[in-house]
Symmetry: D4
């Protein structure tokens, strides 16, 4: 199957964070591709990547980068596809990456998620795709139900574990 989501990161060192995006898309059975290309070190490749994404069948791009994180914005400037930006923490508590991705000027949005928010990037991509794909929409709903089941179970465990405080 041809990928419809493209994960791109500024450095292969971002992969331990971004692997969660891949795992989630896999779970949703959404075909995706993975690339590591730097806006600064390989600008021509980034340009080819961005300009051909739509015709290659990509529907959503997820771009992750740290420091002066230009990758998501640079890609957004060269495609009409929605671009999700994931700030990666590597210095200054990640504030540099957050602001360099989030604060895009009028005209070129990047849909920014939380610092190191790779799982949420995958979910957001799925939500965007679900608008025109009922199968993904269904899988997302199942996923959300499971999330709730887990936290409700955790709450029960906690309540039991705590019981001795209350009776004292």
């Amino acid at each position: 199957m041809k990928p419809i989501v493209s994960i791109i990161m500024g450095s292969t060192s971002d992969w331990p964070v971004m692997e969660k995006t891949a795992v989630f898309l896999n779970e949703m059975q959404i075909p995706f591709e993975v690339n590591a290309l730097s806006a600064h070190r390989t600008p021509e490749k980034v340009e080819v990547f961005a300009r051909t994404a739509e015709e290659r069948g990509i529907k959503v791009i997820i771009a992750a980068a740290g420091m002066a994180a230009h990758l998501p914005g640079v890609i957004a400037a060269m495609t009409a596809l929605p671009v999700i930006g994931v700030p990666i923490k590597s210095s200054l508590e990640g504030m540099d990456a957050i602001l360099a991705i989030l604060q895009m000027p009028p005209g070129i949005p990047v849909a920014t998620v939380a610092l190191n928010g790779s799982l949420n990037a995958g979910i957001l991509a799925s939500q965007i795709l679900a608008g025109s794909d009922a199968g993904i929409a269904d899988k997302l709903k199942t996923y959300k139900e499971n999330l709730k089941t887990k936290i409700v179970k955790a709450n029960k465990d906690l309540a039991e574990y705590k019981f001795d405080y209350k009776t004292n």
Copy 2:
């Protein structure tokens, strides 16, 4: 025509910022609705709003709020639709609104745009819709072309205006 984008803001005082979203969607001929509902002052109405959005035909929600801006996240928790968050500056240079919208925990993303980034919220919503609507996709491309024309013209004016410096 039934609205497919829903603009919601935490307070009517956010309207001067959010009007740009409305103007843009109008220009794109995307039908939309506008609401002012507070996550804190009218939580039941926000819940009804969020839970019925999908069945009312809404495809994308744009939620704006300031300070401890919970509105986008609270709505995202109650719908499977993509939610775009617009941090509104009202105190602490807007950093409170940015962090309260952006830093969503794993499981519930909000697609955050820049501080007071109301135009970009409209563009991002259009990009999401363009995935399954070729008409919107075309209008977006035209819009982007016009943006370029404007800035190229501005550059020319600037170059001319500056000429006397260079010859001295």
Copy 3:
């Protein structure tokens, strides 16, 4: 005995911090309950929790959360009880949690304590309850006296340990 304080946290991972609240309330012999419910993953359960708290006999709610910490504010929006918010540090040095809890808009206050300030949340709850419960008021005074005794003793130890510097 029925609980009169309710400790709620956004995730069971907050428990190592919030255990100090439980230990303190236990020491004050104030009956309490503990829940882990997420404003974003289990919004319906949070709503039931908040709307029934008063009728279940709860007098004060202590709500802890990290990142875009909406839980305290969301609960405060659905109850007239005083809500104490505890920002939990998990990213950005905890500044996201502080601002997302503290900066509530006019109309819905959250009584915010320091980052990871779980002990102070317990003391503040006790101070609020002490207004109509002389027994708690007495225990609080004893607790404060003990605090002083400890620090006075620590100071003495320090003065002795330092003695050799002064004589040189």
Copy 4:
């Protein structure tokens, strides 16, 4: 009637912000007193104020200050009453006042509200008092209902005002 809430501020220049607390308490018919005393310039008076508050019949103290805002914490150190802290913005966007009030060490909490959050301080004081005063509890509920009515009305006005966008 003897005051049961005490509003204290570090400087008379804080009054334009704190007047909202007074107006709200008045509306709730809660008797209160107002003082301007500086933790740094009149420490003895602050001490007398704090040590006698309880015996004078005060149930809740609301303390406002700017810059290195020590007043709320200093008072909290000298009384067992709950102390609500209001950070006043005067420099550094108010971040100095927020941190100097919020970040109290273990043992001495201050219930901090938002920057310049004088209305919320009044509401929080009322919520604390409502625990043992049904009259205040009733008035608070009426107040909250009115808040909703206002924002629902504002939303209607907005929807109408926007109508022309949607039909275009």
Copy 5:
């Protein structure tokens, strides 16, 4: 004369700040060109600009931008010329522009100057050029001498204006 310094800014609205660079270069009699091109709205033009700068005879590029200021870094990625970055204040006190320009990843430096530091950008460009142009080196030294004369004179004026304080 052919320009050897190129001033480029992300938006014509940056011109009131960047005019100081132009005035300074003019004073140094260094030929320069001025462009307004956005990394996000006109990426192709920026690329042509950057890739041809060296062959057009440019020796130093001065790039100014605000918000998520990618322009200096994007240009630095596509040329071997030294690039001076000027963060322009437009939101968040300019911290977004500072971090988005300064925090470049290893491999692609941008020589960043202070927020709105347009004069210093001109001086830095001159210092770089002075390394291989004795005429510029001489003019720079004269400029620095004049700076000192001005401040020494200001100091004298101040000392006299203050005199009455000292004699009282």
Copy 6:
């Protein structure tokens, strides 16, 4: 009388802030001198100033600067006299000046006061001088008494002005 306090500022534009230091020292009848010298634009003059201060009879130096405020630290490096640093707000809410003055490395302290804290710089200088000058010590005490009288009076005025709230 020969000056014993030296006020130095990085730019004559700091004078409107620093005038309060001068007014205070005048009120204390402490002879002082005023200079505007830049650590960056007139480093030789700053060095002569710092190296000769002690022999000219100066006992305390008060140095004010904004932005990357090196003046206080540079002077402290070249004299054994106590140096008081006053951060002047001119950009980034003054945080640059605060950190550039406060965060001196081990070995060379600068006694830093609040942002634009020119009055406190004067008081601190007086406190340092009071250690060996009983006349200054007495004047300081009188000054502090007057401060209290003023705020006590302000509090009375406030209490009266507020009276109508309490009786309603």
Copy 7:
């Protein structure tokens, strides 16, 4: 010998940082005392400490505290002696302690040194005392000379260690 410098800290846990102050004063042969007293937990003892310091022969107070660090300011409010404040890092990268000590309102200065700047606090105290004690002045000068000797030696070592780079 009676102490003339008083080191006070908010908690005995500050001692590992503040020990450097003690070691330095010892080296300068300046007699000192050490106390751990909390502005919040033992306010009466802090008051007695501050009000009696001058008559006990203390000339300079060095006060260290973390978080909402009120101790230096509270002491400064109750004595005419110069008070040196040392912000201790324990949360929020120490920014809370810095602002809570530095940003004192007009009238009550605290001479603030760098985060965890315990050595500089000792040096600053010595500089203040040196104004009226030639013996301390001499020892300070010797200390500064030694500092230089050390760093000059370090530089030589570095230059040699690096030699192989230059010859390659």
Copy 8:
């Protein structure tokens, strides 16, 4: 060969960061010297260093410092050579060093690179030298090509490593 780049750092403890500058310059075969001199502890040596740099044949100075990092600015004030500043992280996440180096006042620029950006400092120095040295220009181009080769290879490895996700 005589050095043409001078690396100077405020403390030998900065060497582990700055070694990357040395390694890079070595790779470029650019002769350099290394010094550790403190703006605060050895100001006279810094002055001699700065004032003689040009006549010793130095073309670019790279100055690194942490905390209230005055070294780059102090040197820039005493030479007409271009000065590259490297902020070293040692406290406050390095924000103090960034602002103390970057925010130079008009007249004296420092070409600031990222926090701990020692490699970029070396590259920037090379770019400046390349303007008048074709050999360095060639080596820089080779270096940049190698950078690309490395990241393109890393991307390939990543794509292969990821393959199993896509096929599932």
